[in-house]
């Protein structure tokens, strides 16, 4: 099983030079640590910044400069600040090319549920519904199963959904899967030491397996 950092590391391989990217809270935030230095990408923070830099040193901490997870941040060279309306104009208008976010459930037709568990406290969807309804490409970082072993890759979501037919790829702790436009999880890679059979048994939704499924490679 992959660690959270390994999930982030694997997702980082999907990043392409020149992309504008929105990273959600949690594992997605870790992806920034694994983007190769030779790629020029720009991270968007939906509270109004293009060009998120590293976390600040103690003396750089500025309460007027935070990310969407309310963490203190810095800005890279060439960054730009703007309002929330402009920020979501960017997102909704399809200018942010890649969105990486967490999920509680994904269905085989690409629906995602990640904002609400009925009966439990509701915190709100924040920017997630806008992001999933708008981004060109959406990659989900998630655990393949719940704590009691139930698959989270489903035929259809059981939780209130965040967006429909929007997820393009999933990197779970067990596998990398593409969500096909016609429906179905196409298995692309296995986590080291995880068999295709195990993935099959832990995927409730339609799993598509074609040919040999390689193990993920964390070499480079």
């Amino acid at each position: 099983m992959l660690t959270k950092d390994q999930i982030a590391q694997r997702i980082a391989k999907e990043v392409k030079d020149g992309q504008y990217i929105n990273l959600g809270i949690g594992i997605p935030t870790l992806v920034a640590n694994y983007i190769p230095d030779d790629l020029d990408v720009i991270l968007q923070s939906e509270n109004g910044l293009l060009g998120i830099g590293p976390f600040p040193t103690e003396d750089q901490v500025d309460p007027d400069l935070i990310n969407a997870g309310k963490q203190t941040i810095t800005m890279t060279k060439g960054s730009a600040l703007f309002s929330s309306a402009e920020s979501f104009a960017m997102i909704r208008g399809g200018h942010v090319q890649l969105t990486i976010l967490g999920a509680m459930e994904v269905s085989e037709n690409g629906d995602i549920a990640n904002w609400k568990i009925p009966g439990k406290m509701v915190k709100g969807m924040g920017g997630a519904m806008d992001l999933v309804a708008s981004a060109e490409r959406i990659i989900v970082a998630m655990q393949h199963c719940s704590k009691n072993g139930q698959s989270k890759l489903l035929k259809s979501c059981t939780l209130p959904i965040t967006g429909i037919r929007c997820v393009d790829m999933i990197v779970s702790d067990m596998a990398v899967l593409e969500v096909l436009p016609e429906g179905g999880f196409k298995l692309l890679e296995r986590a080291p030491g995880i068999s295709v059979e195990e993935i099959k048994s832990k995927t409730e939704g339609k799993l598509i397996i074609e040919g040999e499924i390689p193990e993920m490679n964390f070499a480079n």
């Binding site: 901490v61 309002s83 509701v122 709100g124 209130p160």
Partner: protein, 231 residues
């Protein structure tokens, strides 16, 4: 140039009334109108509808207005980190309307810009879409969303001039510019108030036309929710 300066927060908020609709700029605790919130807390009003991306924390920001039971309804996108909020919500004392963050930003922008309704893809197929018109444009589905306006909008800027022009700093800008435009009465508090003519007209984020009252704020705490530093 029209002078919109008032003495302080107390004078600025004095005519806010019970059951009014209020907007508050800020994202988390960043860029919130701290002085105006303090002044409102000293008033004997309630039944307020508060439009704000977040609801503060238990002991700071709008959270303090919740503690004082001044708020009837919150319209927000994310309301975590607030135990009293949770208690009031579960007990039915507080109404809550949760809105996708981009839809919230755009509905407020629409309120200021005289756009009564617009279509957006956020929330299609989700419970947010319930009761809303769904329409297809160029092979994609969208929801019709309405504008939001307020009786009073409270915004916080970095610099401002006596004509009401505002400049924000960093990500403390967030919802402030749209809310400034969507308030019938917009009250701006600034860290530095200067005479009209001292700010570069080319760098104004909120033109003074949107601001009815402005005052020099004081004692900013600027609390940080998630202080995160490099190792």
């Amino acid at each position: 140039m029209i002078n919109k300066t008032v003495k302080n927060a107390q004078e600025a908020v004095q005519d806010v009334f019970s059951n009014a609709v209020l907007m508050f700029g800020g994202f988390g605790l960043s860029g919130i109108p701290e002085n105006s919130i303090q002044a409102l807390l000293a008033m004997n009003i309630n039944g307020l509808t508060c439009i704000s991306n977040n609801a503060g924390v238990d002991d700071f920001g709008i959270g303090l207005m919740l503690q004082k039971r001044m708020v009837k309804k919150m319209i927000s996108s994310y309301v975590g980190e607030n135990a009293e909020f949770e208690r009031q919500l579960l007990s039915g004392e507080l109404e809550v309307e949760l809105i996708p963050q981009g839809t919230l930003a755009e509905r407020v922008r629409a309120g200021g810009a005289g756009i009564p309704a617009f279509f957006t893809p956020a929330g299609v197929g989700t419970e947010v879409a319930e009761g809303k018109e769904l329409r297809e444009f160029d092979d994609k589905l969208y929801l019709l969303e309405r504008w939001l306006k307020a009786d009073f909008a409270f915004v916080k800027a970095w610099k401002g001039d006596t004509a009401g022009n505002l400049i924000y700093k960093g990500t403390a800008r967030n919802f402030n510019p749209m809310m400034a435009a969507a308030g019938k009465i917009t009250i701006a508090e600034v860290e530095e108030l200067v005479p009209a003519g001292e700010l570069d007209p080319n760098q104004i984020h909120t033109p003074g036309i949107y601001v009815q009252r402005i005052f020099q704020g004081k004692n900013y705490e600027k609390r940080i929710e998630q202080r995160t530093v490099r190792k």
